[in-house]
Amino acid sequence: MIKKTRFKGTLAGAVGVSALVAAVAAQAQTLNIVSWGGAYSESQQKAYHEPWMKKTGDEIVNIDRSSNALAGLRAQSQAGNVTWDLVDMLPADAMIACDEGLAETIDADALLADAPDGTPPSKDFIAGSLGECFVPQIVYSNVVAFNTEMFPADHQPSTIADVFDLDKYPGKRALMRKPINNLEWALVADGVDPKDVYDVLSTDEGVARAFEKLDTIKDQVIWWEEGAQPPQLLADQEVAFGSGYNGRFFNAAVAEGQPFKIIWDAQVFELDGWVVPTGKLDKVKDYLKFATDTQRLADQAKYISYGPARKSSSAMVTTHAATGIPMKTHMPTFPPNFKTAIPKDNTFWADHNDELTQRFNAWLAM
């Protein structure tokens, strides 16, 4: 899906302004921005792109390739023809892009906007969230949601252990066709403290234990590969539970009125943010500064239930733009939602993803 929107300067009448417009128009450029598509791209469109296009006359082209962004970036750099100007990525991919020299290193305090009260970015972004080449936008969460109509009102699931309990809560489960999240959840459902999940997963016995737990629900699982699938499967009642991104479930529930409820227990949360392909820093640095300032990050939370990555923005989160409901309780970082949250360990996954994915695939084929 490629959207093209161009703001045409119509202010040319006033003499004083026309010079300014001419100056802006001379610099107006097209930015190819890669993101996830769907509701998430729309929230970026409304909160970042539209105000920016209005301000500068730039044209922003949305490219929905984030799920294969690293492959795309590598291919473009190898082809010597990088057409992407800014890429929305997960921190794990950003780290690899950075290590391979595909992404620009970002000096946050020099390049990004201070908070309104003057706090420098390095202090304003959530501790540890800024990467060498990575500017976070949001905190999102991987959760399991269920269709409330598929269980009696007095017998609704509430914990991750319930997802693994076929006796109490029968029905199919839609889970992502990757080991990430599933192994963490299997261990928590098996009684591991969310804090110790990665310590346990670092041992062979821990991995075996996670797979054994997954074994118990294996024949009831439909494995999904695209983020849009689980809400759809849930809506069609093809499954009772579905794992996915909390924002997508929020959107389906609030905007489309689907009877979905999120199980916040053992949510696996992480960041999502921008990476600047090597050589593109000069072109996008103004946009990057604008799109990651306090106001823009707070604005995004009006459109989707992801928490802003700046502390100064969190205080400004208000209501959902379309429905007017308060957003705070729908955020992954809302304290009652956050009690048993697992911070995704990107170093663990950078080391073990290849191995565990192969093991996971072998397990699937068994």
């Binding site: 492959a71 020299g101 084929a365």
Partner: protein, 417 residues
């Protein structure tokens, strides 16, 4: 005319006929070659060289040697019995420091991580902290990451310093190097590819058999009807053949999914209960049904063209000689159609094992083919060497079958539509 040399036959201008003929043949050979050469040159660039590049990628192994040149050299004559000495550690420290500055370590870290999980963070983590580390490097590096104190780490680096590797091929057949450098099977819980190759082959065999079972009667009917009727029915075979593959796959999703047309009909007529809908898609069944449909014309057309050449009088003769219908069919007609069965069978099988789109869309997780892993490693895991190795193995199978096809039938006998 016993001695033709004394009275050579000549053309009008006095050139011996033999020479003239030879010259003419040579000229027309050259002309034919010249006509074909633009296409050959084009295919060389757009097709043959890409395939060669892919084959080369499956063994190419530049990452470690490029990113750790000093270490590779220092390790060259390490015997692998005990941890290497300080010089090697110093070389590693120098390589990591230089690589960290140039940001050139990433691919090497990923490469080593394929061989030994944990190497990525060992390399990158150490590189980030290498600046200002004082000699002796051996204890310093081991203190930063304990992996540097393991023999296995150094054996992997030494082995993968070589410019070519068999690791990708080993991985593609569920094998690996043991810490001692022997080739061993990966643990059972990690075995993926061999099983998938077999699944691809046996599912393709099932699909080929099904297309034969369905295609044979139809081809027989088409070959024995008057031309007017058979032309009309032929359209029913050719239309799906000409329709977009994605369209045909989409229709099977619409028909087979659990809220789909077929289940809805069966529920509506009371054949099955609403909560007991059949799972006919996103599994092997889905792949087999959709692919049988998609590949059926490729079976019917070669069968038809062979059956068309069998005079109906043969069967009549067999009957009039007293053969029972079934016996006459088995003894007379069927053997004559074997070339068609071979042509269609090999064609369908070759096409089937290489299919990607349909298994990816309707195969769910039990109905996917080895091709899905080529795409996965190309696009998601970015392990291009492994993708190239799997593709090369599949290519070898296809080439062998293609040669068989060529030997038995001849590519120039392939007809379309």
């Amino acid at each position: 005319m016993s001695d033709s040399s004394s009275y050579p036959l000549t053309t009008a201008d006095g050139v011996p006929l033999k020479t003239s003929l030879r010259r003419a043949v040579r000229r027309s050979r050259l002309k034919a070659l010249l006509l074909v050469s633009p296409l050959l040159a084009f295919l060389l660039i757009a097709f043959v060289m890409p395939i060669a590049e892919m084959l080369w990628r499956s063994v190419d192994n530049p990452e470690v040697a490029t990113a750790l040149p000093r270490t590779a050299e220092a390790l060259a004559d390490w015997n692998g019995e005990a941890l290497p000495d300080e010089a090697v550690y110093a070389a590693l420290a120098a390589d990591l420091e230089a690589g960290d500055k140039a940001r050139s370590l990433g691919k090497m870290a990923s490469r080593l991580n394929y061989e030994k999980s944990g190497m990525r963070s060992a390399v990158m983590g150490t590189a980030r902290r290498i600046e200002g580390v004082e000699p002796p490097y051996k204890p310093a590096l081991i203190a930063i990451n304990a992996d540097w104190g393991e023999l296995a780490t150094w054996r992997v680096i030494q082995r993968e310093s070589s410019p070519y590797t068999l690791s990708y091929y080993l991985a593609a057949i569920d094998r690996q190097y043991s810490p001692d450098g022997d080739i061993v099977a990966v643990p059972e819980y990690m075995q993926v590819y061999v099983g998938l190759f077999w699944r691809t082959f046996w599912m393709s065999a099932v699909i080929t058999l099904l297309t034969l079972l369905l295609g044979y009667p139809v081809a027989f009917l088409l070959a024995n009807l008057p031309l007017r009727h058979s032309n009309l029915l032929m359209i029913l075979v050719l239309l799906p053949f000409w329709t977009s593959l994605l369209v045909r796959t989409t229709t099977w999703i619409a028909i087979l999914q659990s809220q789909g047309v077929l289940n809805d009909i069966m529920v509506a007529v009371g054949l099955i209960a609403d909560d007991a809908r059949w799972q006919m898609i996103h599994n092997k069944t889905g792949t087999i049904i959709a692919m049988t449909h998609i590949l059926l014309p490729f079976m019917i057309l070669p069968l038809y063209s062979v059956m068309k050449t069998i005079p109906p009088s043969y069967m009549r003769a067999a009957r009039s000689l007293g053969g029972k219908p079934l016996l006459s069919f088995r003894r007379v007609y069927f053997p004559l159609t074997i070339p068609g069965i071979a042509a269609g069978g090999i064609l369908v099988f070759i096409l089937s094992i290489g299919y990607y789109i349909t298994p990816a869309l309707v195969g769910g997780q039990s109905g996917r083919f080895i091709t899905n892993y080529i795409a996965y490693h190309m696009q998601t895991s970015l392990n291009w060497g492994l993708a190239a190795a799997i593709a090369s193995i599949l290519l070898l199978v296809v080439i062998v079958l293609y040669m068989l096809f060529n030997r038995l039938i001849g590519v120039d006998k392939v007809k379309l539509g």
